[in-house]
């Protein structure tokens, strides 16, 4: 039995505090911020949970994100990107903050695809909104643009390359 475990989970701008008060078989008793929940929860398929609360039946699907602490959770109507925050992730976050936000400098594609064209080269000055890479996936081409003015410091891929989703493609100085 796991009792009195506390965790923070972030969803969008919300930082929710969850406290597991008790768990006995399928029955869990959890405090989410100040709200108490008594649920019957059980995993029915891999990544699929059936939940019964006060007689209402919910189906929740859950996929692990980029790390063990990130989840995409689908309820019937909504989809949530969640991140579980513990001591380790707080430390990482603080360190990243002090190092400055890397992501604003990196152009990446949310989906896998193929690099069609890179109309810039390392050292080029680019202005905000200027296309820096064109990716094709499923017969559709998408232009990715510079998020700000800057100089191209690195191009991580070549024309014709097959890329995974979310990998860095072009980095600005």
């Amino acid at each position: 039995m796991q009792n009195n475990i506390s965790l923070q989970i972030n969803v969008d701008s919300r930082e929710a505090n969850l406290k597991l008060l008790s768990r006995e078989g399928n029955q869990v008793h959890v405090l989410v911020d100040d709200e108490e929940y008594k649920l019957d929860i059980c995993q029915v398929e891999q990544g699929v949970y059936s939940i019964i609360r006060n007689g209402k039946s919910y189906n929740v699907e859950l996929i692990e994100g980029d790390s063990k602490k990130k989840y995409i959770v689908n309820t019937y109507r909504n989809s949530y990107d969640l991140e579980i925050v513990d001591a380790e992730s707080r430390f990482m976050k603080n360190r990243n903050k002090s190092m400055g936000d890397e992501s604003a400098n990196t152009i990446s594609s949310p989906m896998p695809g193929k690099v069609v064209k890179i109309p810039v080269k390392v050292g080029d000055e680019v202005t905000q909104g200027q296309p820096v890479i064109i990716i094709s996936a499923m017969k559709m081409e998408s232009e990715y643009k510079a998020p700000r003015d800057g100089i191209v410091s690195e191009i991580c891929v070549a024309e014709g390359d097959t890329i995974d989703g979310k990998q860095p493609l072009v980095i600005l100085e």
Partner: protein
């Protein structure tokens, strides 16, 4: 005698064709590219041949490779599905030259109907109405004014080399025509390096309505009534239904006769589709002919009760049509939704990836034509369509409710899909009332894109689920005995069963 057919396609349509082959006792031969070794059509087929790298221009579009596989397998016929080589006259010709039956029309018919100008001329000669105007380049102000006089306002100026709305100008007043032609020409030149433009009547509130036709090699042609395909996004069909809510028995008869005339004009053999633009006053104009099976053919199959692939094969065998025009009646109402791997909330960006979990809708009145399965990775090289959901009801109202039920049951995780967007379409007043045209999606964009809201409970339940999953995962990786072992026999058994399932 055809006892083996090569299906020169992939995805849902390849599987769909193979199903009918199997029911006819015909062996099916799959071809596959590198990315498709694990695709369902390879698993479903009786035989399978590798035809090269993943990009379709190195595999599915290479005529030599397809012909080679057909010869190796001894297939007597090739079914091209839709897309790829299905409307390629050279491929049809090559099959003919090689003595292989092409399940589709002759190369000549594909050529004539494949070219917009020759198709338009042929239709005009056969008395099928076309959009008034000209396809000739406007070379003078007088010529532009002449067309306007002939077809009446409003008109649309379009670039001959055009596409994507570039070089297009809507003209509502005669005074604007000269300036519009000038602007369109300049834009066309800038966009396409070609300043040819033409002037056509502008159809307000256009409906995209198409008629399914069947022609045999004995000169018989019939139509199988209409499909309403006006729910489109960027000229891509999203939802189709049959019958069309706009249709009347009189209009159906008239359009059907013109569709048959259009097909007969080219001695059409096989299954084909005549696409029309229809306005709210029931004026209709020939748009184009698709000389192949359509994606949305299942709604016709359901309301008229005919397996179109079987008919295609029978026609290819030289048989006479099984049905007479007077036998064809629509029974009930069918709707198809196309399920795409795409992210509606991110500008409908394609979303290839690994299918982690899938539950397909089942039960009364529901047909699913798909090809993905749990653990399948949707490749980046091809169309993002995952499957088609087709429902039937006794009435349009029942069909809509059934579609909502089916969409509710359809669960796919791992890739983003258009399922929620389709649910919104089923709930949009204009759709429910059957009062929509090709502007439907833009007119209803706000409603369709609205994020579904949920009370906080819903979000909290998502959080709790993640908590439970995370604790179990952490517990598992630290100890062999699940951290949550309790006295409950059910919970213990669950762990044990999952271990069995995961070997």
């Amino acid at each position: 005698m055809i006892n083996k057919i090569l299906i020169a396609n992939r995805g849902e349509i390849a599987v769909r064709v193979m199903r009918s082959c199997r029911e006819m006792g015909i062996r099916s031969v799959a071809v596959y590219s590198e990315a498709d070794r694990k695709s369902m059509h390879v698993r479903y087929a009786d035989e399978a041949y590798f035809i090269g790298p993943s990009p379709s221009n190195e595999s599915y579009l290479v005529i030599d490779k397809i012909i080679d596989a057909a010869k190796k397998s001894g297939a007597q016929a090739i079914h091209p599905g839709y897309g790829f080589l299905s409307e390629n006259a050279a491929f049809s010709q090559r099959c003919k030259d090689e003595g292989i039956i092409f399940i589709g029309p002759s190369p000549e018919v594909i050529s004539v109907m494949g070219d917009k100008i020759s198709a338009r001329q042929r239709m005009m000669a056969s008395g099928v109405p076309v959009v008034p105007g000209t396809k000739d380049n406007i070379t003078s102000d007088e010529m532009a004014l002449e067309v306007v006089m002939k077809v009446g306002l409003p008109v649309m100026v379009k670039a001959s080399a055009g596409g994507g709305g570039k070089g297009m100008r809507l003209v509502k007043k005669e005074a604007d025509i000269v300036q519009a032609v000038k602007a369109a020409k300049s834009e066309a030149m800038a966009s396409f390096g070609d300043d040819a433009v033409y002037v056509e009547k502008y159809i307000e509130s256009p409906h995209h309505i198409e008629f399914q036709v069947l022609g045999d090699s004995h000169g018989n042609v019939i139509h199988l009534c209409e499909r309403e395909c006006s729910v489109q996004r960027r000229h891509q069909k999203v939802v189709e239904e049959s019958p069309s809510p706009l249709m009347t028995p009189e209009l159906r008869k008239e359009m059907g006769e013109k569709a048959v005339a259009a097909a007969a004009a080219v001695n059409y053999t096989g299954a084909g589709t005549i696409e029309f633009l229809v306005d709210n006053d029931h004026n209709f104009y020939f748009l184009e002919m698709n000389t192949r099976l359509q994606v949305e053919h299942p709604i016709t199959e359901r309301v008229v009760g005919i397996d179109l692939v079987k008919e295609q094969i029978r026609i290819a065998r030289g048989e006479k049509l099984n049905h007479k025009q007077e036998d064809i009646v629509q029974s009930g109402h069918a709707i198809e939704c196309r399920i795409y791997a795409e992210d509606p909330s991110n500008n409908f960006m394609p979303s290839p990836g690994l299918i982690k979990h899938i539950t397909e809708p089942l039960g009364l009145g529901v047909r699913t034509d798909g090809y993905v399965y749990e653990g399948y990775e949707i490749p980046i090289y091809y169309d993002p369509m995952i499957s088609k959901l087709i429902v039937h009801g006794n009435t349009r109202e029942e069909a809509i409710k059934r579609m909502k039920r089916a969409l509710y049951e359809y669960k796919i995780t791992g890739v983003k899909t258009s399922i929620k967007f389709l649910e919104r379409i089923m709930e949009a007043d204009d759709f429910v009332n059957g009062k929509y045209d090709t502007h439907f999606i833009e007119n209803n964009e706000e409603f369709l894109m609205e994020m579904d809201t949920c009370d906080e409970t819903c979000e909290d339940i998502a959080l709790i689920t993640a908590l439970v999953d995370y604790l179990d995962k952490m517990g598992k990786s630290e100890t062999t005995v699940p951290a949550h072992s309790t006295s409950s026999e059910y919970w213990k058994n669950f762990g044990r069963r999952k271990a069995i399932l995961r070997w």
